[in-house]
């Protein structure tokens, strides 16, 4: 392995990391997508090297379609894609923020040789010095992200968050969901289709998830099986897109026998007409007669199975493999419809929804009762455009009400974009209901706000306790403090009991009536009763408010911070954050960026709420996750020592890890 590594390196070219070049690459990528950012952004027309054109507003699609040679640029695009596939949000914002951060760091390093990152280096050549300072920067950034970001968010930003829930039980009003979804689609779909898609997605949400109890599981299911839950049909206008109840399978019936009433359905994953022998077995035939006899026996067996199915009142067979002609013949005789060649994901979705498992006809259960069946209200062919589907209407036997979305569009590109934006919207909704815990910095996925007390850690920050105590005084009557909470689990020490007392007291307070009803249905929830940095369902009005808030509080933190490295990093991050609202407000005259910024900072200085100028809400968790991901990507980039270009991948003799390759 050493020999071939040496051979590989001998035809390689090594280059050290140049922060200026990184910044340039990132800026070029950012300028390719910045025109599409925000609700006033336009579409991007992209020409691939092969000559195809792409007309889209989706940042990830644009970045992935660019042709890039430098490995660092490709790494940036890979980070963007990964972030987008996890959260469904923020590809353009990611790359713009990354570019500004890189440029800011380069300015810091260039400004003076005596910046705090070059302090500890006495001598050594310039290259070593710059590598060292980059490593120090990346360390400071990680320190910032793990320790300070949560702290700043908990201490300062939390009081500005609104809650998407309209009452204590965690219900969300339809208006709130619609405004969140509208704000999401505003930045991703062309103007003409935004309204339709946001309407469609909120309908889909309410149809699939009628109750809030299993909301997270249901969202998870929708996101995991989204490919099976949506279909694209070209050749029809976009307004024909609709939601259909039940499950749609992209196949046609192999044999269709209409049936009424409740229909029993069976799933099979093997061929019913078995082969002469199974793999691994040897089947010896000595004469023609034996062969004929075996065939006849197998045919009779198939006939018996199909008869038994008919006796058990099975009307539909869903098969993941192609069944033999003989099976189809007997099915037609016995009045059983067959759908073949379903994909394994569809089968697993069906099993998950209905809770049954596939039926395997063996000698034993041929004559006994078949239990693993599901009941459907209807099972019929469906024609949309030029495609034929099978439409299954499942009964309400489970908590998930399956619905399918059909996207119509003039061409494939349009339907694909709508489908991926829709999928991203549901991923974003899934993120909306996540929470961030202060103590260990990792995410806690609580079911609903009532149970969050059980997930509370004992290690509350001292400042946090005082913050909680202060706000508690404002809102909770002192007469409740003496109550003893009866329903706390074990593992209690004083801090958890204090917190739980406040929670039960706050719960009673909320039941009595909420005096903080601001306009529309947004209720301002005081986030003082837990030590979650970001509560479930935290939202902020759109328009760069999160960035402006974080910028303001980071600046004020940096002013009183003692450590020079952290100060510099905080300042750079704070400045970079402003680039987002600058772009968002670039085209407006009335509400230009300096005005908005001035209004916001003067409101913050006097401890008031931010002026809410725009409709639409965005999830705080998504924004927070974006900042964290950008910082992670930045540290990964800065810790690269050497970029080695090789012409061929090294032969995999043993396990080896190659750095980067052409």
């Amino acid at each position: 392995m050493l020999a071939c590594a040496r051979r590989a390196v001998s035809m390689a070219s090594a280059a050290s990391l140049d922060l200026g070049q990184l910044a340039q690459e990132a800026e070029a990528l950012a300028s390719a997508v910045r025109g599409a950012l925000g609700p006033r952004g336009g579409q991007v027309l992209l020409t691939r090297p092969t000559g195809e054109t792409l007309f889209t507003r989706d940042g990830r699609r644009v970045l992935e379609a660019l042709s890039l040679a430098p490995p660092t640029a490709r790494m940036m695009v890979a980070c963007v894609s990964m972030h987008h596939s996890m959260t469904g949000d923020g590809a353009k914002t990611f790359i713009i923020l990354l570019a500004k951060l890189l440029r800011g760091l380069q300015a810091v390093l260039d400004k003076r040789e005596g910046s705090p990152f070059c302090e500890d280096i006495q001598r050594g050549e310039r290259h070593q010095r710059s590598c060292h300072s980059l490593k120090q920067i990346s360390q400071s950034i990680m320190t910032f992200q793990t320790l300070l970001l949560d702290h700043v968010m908990a201490q300062d930003l939390r009081k500005h968050f609104l809650s998407a829930f309209s009452n204590w039980e965690g219900e969300i009003s339809r208006d709130t969901i619609e405004s969140i979804l509208e704000a999401y689609f505003c930045g991703r779909i062309g103007y003409s289709d935004q309204k339709l898609l946001s309407q469609l997605s909120s309908d889909f949400y309410y149809k699939c998830i009628p109750f809030k109890n299993d909301r997270n599981e249901m969202l998870n299911l929708v996101n995991e099986y989204f490919v099976e839950l949506h279909f694209a049909v070209t050749g029809l206008p976009v307004s024909n897109s609709r939601i259909l109840e039940g499950l749609i399978l992209p196949r046609d019936f192999a044999v269709y026998c209409p049936a009424g009433g409740d229909i029993r359905i069976l799933i099979v994953t093997e061929s019913i007409h078995s082969a002469l022998s199974a793999p691994g077995l040897e089947f010896v035939i000595n004469a023609e007669a034996q062969y004929q006899a075996s065939q006849i026996w197998i045919t009779k067996r198939t006939e018996a199975i199909m008869k038994h199915l008919q006796n058990s009142n099975i009307k539909v067979l869903l098969s993941s493999v192609k069944q033999q002609e003989i099976v189809i013949y007997y099915a037609k005789i016995n009045g059983i419809s067959i759908v073949e060649c379903l994909s394994s994901e569809e089968i697993s979705l069906l099993c998950k929804i209905t809770g049954i498992s596939p039926f395997i006809p063996t000698w034993d259960n041929i004559h006994s009762e078949i239990s693993e069946t599901m009941i459907a209200k209807f099972c019929q062919p469906l024609v949309v455009g030029s495609k034929r589907f099978v439409h299954l209407g499942l009964t309400r036997t489970c908590t998930f009400q399956p619905h399918c979305v059909i996207f119509c569009g003039p061409v494939h590109g349009v339907t694909e974009q709508h489908a991926s934006a829709f999928h991203g919207a549901f991923k974003m909704l899934q993120q909306l209901f996540k929470a961030v815990d202060l103590s260990d910095g990792c995410e806690v996925q609580s079911e609903n706000p009532n149970n969050s007390s059980k997930a509370v850690h004992c290690s509350c920050d001292q400042q946090l306790k005082t913050c909680m105590a202060e706000t508690e005084k404002q809102f909770i009557d002192s007469s409740w403090v003496g109550e003893n909470p009866s329903s706390m689990t074990a593992k209690e020490n004083t801090t958890t009991s204090v917190v739980s007392k406040e929670i039960t007291a706050a719960k009673d307070f909320w039941k009595a009536g909420n005096p903080f009803n601001y306009e529309k249905s947004y209720k301002y929830t005081v986030q003082s009763y837990t030590n979650l940095v970001i509560q479930q369902g935290s939202v902020l009005p759109v328009g760069g408010n999160f960035e402006i808030l974080l910028h303001y509080y980071l600046h004020s933190y940096a002013k009183q911070c003692q450590e020079p490295k952290i100060t510099v990093v905080s300042t750079v991050i704070a400045e970079a954050l402003l680039s987002i609202p600058k772009i968002l407000y670039r085209t407006t005259n009335k509400n230009s960026f300096p005005q908005v910024y001035f209004k916001a900072t003067s409101a913050l200085r006097t401890n008031q709420q931010l002026p809410m100028s725009q409709q639409g809400l965005e999830s705080v968790y998504c924004k927070y996750q974006l900042v964290v991901s950008v910082l992670h990507c930045l540290t990964k980039l800065l810790t690269i020592d050497l970029i080695i270009g090789i012409r061929r991948l090294p032969q995999k003799t043993e396990d080896n890890d190659s750095e980067d390759d052409l």
């Binding site: 800026e27 070029a28 390719a32 660019l66 040679a69 640029a73 100060t567």
Partner: protein
């Protein structure tokens, strides 16, 4: 500023002087322009390479015919390095001095802007960027000159339009005399472009006068 709180090597750090600030500002604008152009070319299907241009350090692009292209060198005219305040501190200082002079004498001085936006006639360059570069140049020239004039005009009432015309005509005469006398090609080229700029600004001035 927060940076001043850092370390004990800050004793001799002063805020950048006005000329240095101009350089920083101009450099930032140049960077922005370069990244915007690069983004446009990337969207057109050009490929970003891993190498940098030797002269200016910008990342190279490669088109479908595998030809190399440097955005800064071939579109932002680095031939006039010595006059571009982004790349030469001397030019920045002289530009600041000229501005101060112009403000002091209260004369509409569109010339303050002209030397800095000298557009050199094209030295032999690869053909494929001819179109883009010349288009950009023409747009840049046309953009900068009217930019200069409204600034000067809005500062004072309408009479200095006539003063401006006189000044331009004077300079035109001086330049044509110098052109007749000059022996070096460089100087002649510069004078020719000066004359062209004078003519264009004269045309704009005449459009502005309400007649």
């Amino acid at each position: 500023m927060a940076l001043n709180a850092a370390g004990n090597d800050d004793g001799n750090w002063e805020p950048p002087s006005e000329a240095e600030q101009k350089v920083i500002q101009a450099r930032r604008e140049r960077q922005d322009k370069i990244s915007r152009l690069m983004g446009d070319y990337l969207l057109k299907g050009y490929r970003m390479l891993g190498e940098c241009c030797e002269e200016c350090g910008t990342i190279l692009l490669q088109d479908k015919q595998k030809r190399l292209y440097c955005v800064a060198c071939q579109e932002l005219n680095s031939d006039i390095d010595k006059d571009n305040p982004a790349l030469n501190a001397q030019a920045a200082l002289s530009q600041v001095r000229e501005h101060q002079l112009a403000a002091a004498t209260e004369e509409a001085a569109p010339f303050g802007y002209l030397p800095a936006t000298h557009q050199q006639p094209p030295v032999p360059r690869p053909e494929h960027c001819e179109g883009a570069a010349s288009g950009l140049r023409a747009a840049a020239t046309a953009a900068t000159i009217p930019q200069a004039l409204p600034a000067s005009v809005s500062a004072q009432p309408a009479s200095p339009l006539a003063a401006a015309e006189d000044a331009i005509l004077q300079k035109l005469g001086w330049a044509s005399q110098e052109l007749q006398r000059s022996a070096s090609i460089e100087l002649s080229l510069q004078l020719c472009s000066l004359i062209r700029s004078c003519a264009e600004s004269l045309k704009c001035l005449r459009e502005l006068t309400p007649q």
